[in-house]
């Protein structure tokens, strides 16, 4: 029913935009990763040295491993907080469901920076938490290790990604046909058994989507480490950021970015495959 002119009019501008501002920049990133820096200038000397450095220099492997550990902890904590919350809203919240749902959604879109800053004021050595502990006479001196540690990064990112993880899980739980649960109980399964054998398997696609989201976004985060992580909480994106800044080695930074991009896209691909396999038919 739509004419050729209509179709080209709606499809050409966005395709051109995607080509110019997504595809071309990614290509440039890859091209940069094959160049080198000599005496503070980027030279167009094609080589694989940057990638070799990544695989041979133990420092990068160490930071990448720490980043993966932090991202995995964030994912796990977000699921442990987000799943029961989604379960509660889907099955037990009753009339308050809409309001509670809105209460989860609001922080999802509310300033990353503001929430990160809030943690900084809470965890600092003269921060709110330390003030609170001393007020209760639980400690007498400020505790220094709350802030500027991998722990603080995990805490802050869990706070940010719990609503993200909640959302697809909740959607999956809401889509489970209720007669299935009744059937399970009629056939003699208790609520624990119904959860493990019916609800959890059927919510797996949502769980997977949420987990992928939290893991991938934590993996590439560089602001949380700067804000609350300190030197011991440095993540891989901080290395990239410093290579593009003070250290001025764009080609090496580009190579790590390509690595992050490849890891991200592989994870998305993998999670989509698994989601299809587990999808409720």
């Amino acid at each position: 029913m739509y004419s050729r002119a209509y179709k080209s009019l709606v499809s050409i501008p966005p395709i051109a935009w995607v080509g110019a501002f997504l595809l071309l920049p990614y290509a440039l990133m890859f091209v940069h990763s094959l160049w080198a820096v000599r005496e503070g200038v980027i030279v167009h000397q094609w080589n694989w040295e940057n990638y070799k450095t990544l695989f041979t220099n133990a420092l990068y492997a160490e930071v990448l491993l720490r980043t993966m550990r932090i991202a995995a902890s964030v994912t796990l904590c977000s699921i442990l907080l987000g799943y029961p919350l989604a379960y509660y809203l889907a099955f037990h919240a009753g009339a308050r469901k809409e309001l509670l749902y809105l209460l989860v959604i609001v922080p999802l879109w509310v300033s990353y920076l503001v929430r990160g800053y809030a943690w900084k004021t809470i965890l600092g050595s003269d921060g709110v938490l330390n003030g609170f502990l001393q007020y209760l006479h639980l400690t007498h001196e400020p505790v220094g290790f709350f802030l500027y540690s991998p722990f603080a990064v995990v805490l802050m990112l869990t706070h940010i990604y719990t609503p993200f993880v909640f959302l697809p899980i909740y959607a999956a739980l809401e889509h489970i046909p209720r007669p299935l649960l009744e059937a399970s109980e009629d056939l003699g399964a208790g609520s624990v058994q119904t959860f493990w054998r019916v609800i959890l398997p059927l919510s797996m696609p949502g769980l997977l989507a949420g987990a992928t989201f939290a893991f991938v976004l934590s993996l590439g985060d560089f602001l949380a480490p700067l804000l609350v992580g300190g030197p011991s909480g440095t993540m891989i994106a901080n290395v990239v950021q410093s290579l593009f800044g003070a250290a001025f080695d764009w080609p090496l930074g580009a190579a790590i970015s390509v690595g992050i991009l490849v890891i991200t896209i592989s994870l998305l691909f993998l999670s989509e495959l698994l989601e299809k396999r587990w999808a409720f038919k």
């Binding site: 739509y2 004419s3 002119a5 179709k7 709606v10 499809s11 966005p14 395709i15 995607v18 501002f21 997504l22 920049p25 990614y26 440039l28 990133m29 940069h32 907080l81 029961p84 509660y88 809203l89 099955f91 037990h92 009753g94 959604i105 922080p107 879109w109 509310v110 300033s111 990353y112 920076l113 503001v114 800053y117 004021t121 809470i122 600092g124 003269d126 709110v128 007020y135 706070h159 719990t162 959302l167 697809p168 909740y170 959607a171 809401e174 989507a209 992928t212 989201f213 991938v216 985060d221 602001l223 804000l227 994106a237 950021q241 580009a254 970015s257 992050i260 991009l261 991200t264 998305l268």
Partner: protein, 264 residues
């Protein structure tokens, strides 16, 4: 529905975890002795009056408003076309196109920011608020496309067909039928994009020139230390964004029917 006090308690704990930092932040913006210490003792509006006298903050707010306004216009226009293209046309590479458009939604901001930085250097463009806008629009077209695509899928095609059958041109049909029907989706998507653009920092970080956006200005001050003034501006940002999000939520629920739609 069965009662389950333990689960309800756990849900309350999660809500506390999500909201406590925000409450603490707002509370201490009124504390005379500044941020830290417990309990907050003396109420004051001093930090807000200092904030209102701080011209650097307001300059950066103005920059952010300009960027956000332009981001909304650009992302909505491109997102509308992209959503129409995904909904109604077939072309080679459509799946790839869909994936690429949505990629910035899930890609860490540093990748989007850096790839566009390299693009700007390659094209010989100087970093400014224009490059920031470019970054925001590129990242946020993913949001408008998903939102508007969902809106289009809910539209009743019969109206458009009737309009075309009755002799209206495709152009007239678009302006008089499609667009008005999509009104709520457009406003909802616009509000969301505005909020996200006002808050954006990961992409902006690599693309700004001489002029700061509000989040970058706050970031720069944070590097120097915590001040109650940042609590005050944060509290104001919170109030405004919560307001916009609540409006967005209701509009979206009205346009898509039922609030619990998948967002991602």
């Amino acid at each position: 529905m069965r009662r389950s006090p333990l689960l309800a308690l756990y849900a309350a704990f999660v809500f506390a975890f999500v909201y406590l930092p925000i409450v603490v932040l707002v509370l201490y913006s009124f504390n005379r002795d500044g941020v830290g210490g417990f309990p907050p003792r003396h109420f004051t509006l001093r930090w807000y009056t200092e904030l209102f006298a701080d011209s650097a903050i307001w300059d950066s707010l103005l920059n952010s408003l300009m960027v956000a306004g332009a981001s909304v216009a650009l992302s909505l226009a491109l997102g509308l076309l992209a959503a129409l293209a995904l909904d109604r046309t077939d072309f080679p590479g459509k799946t790839l196109f869909r994936r690429l458009v949505l990629l910035p939604l899930i890609l860490p901001g540093i990748i989007t920011g850096l790839s566009l930085l390299m693009f700007a250097v390659f094209a010989g463009v100087q970093l400014s608020l224009i490059t920031v806008l470019l970054g925001h629009a590129t990242a946020l077209v993913s949001v408008s496309t998903t939102e508007l695509f969902a809106g289009l899928q809910k539209l009743d095609r019969a109206q458009e067909e009737a309009s075309l059958d009755l002799g209206a041109t495709p152009w007239q049909t678009f302006w008089r039928v499609t667009l008005p029907n999509l009104r709520l989706s457009l406003i909802a998507a616009g509000l969301l994009i505005f909020t996200l653009s006002m808050d954006e920092i990961a992409v902006t970080f690599f693309l700004f020139g001489r002029d700061n956006t509000l989040p970058l200005e706050i970031w720069a001050r944070l590097r120097r230390g915590i001040t109650p003034e940042i609590n005050a501006i944060s509290a104001l940002i919170l109030v405004v964004s919560v307001g916009l999000i609540v409006i967005w939520y209701h509009l979206r629920a009205r346009s898509l029917g039922g609030g619990s739609q998948e967002l991602l």
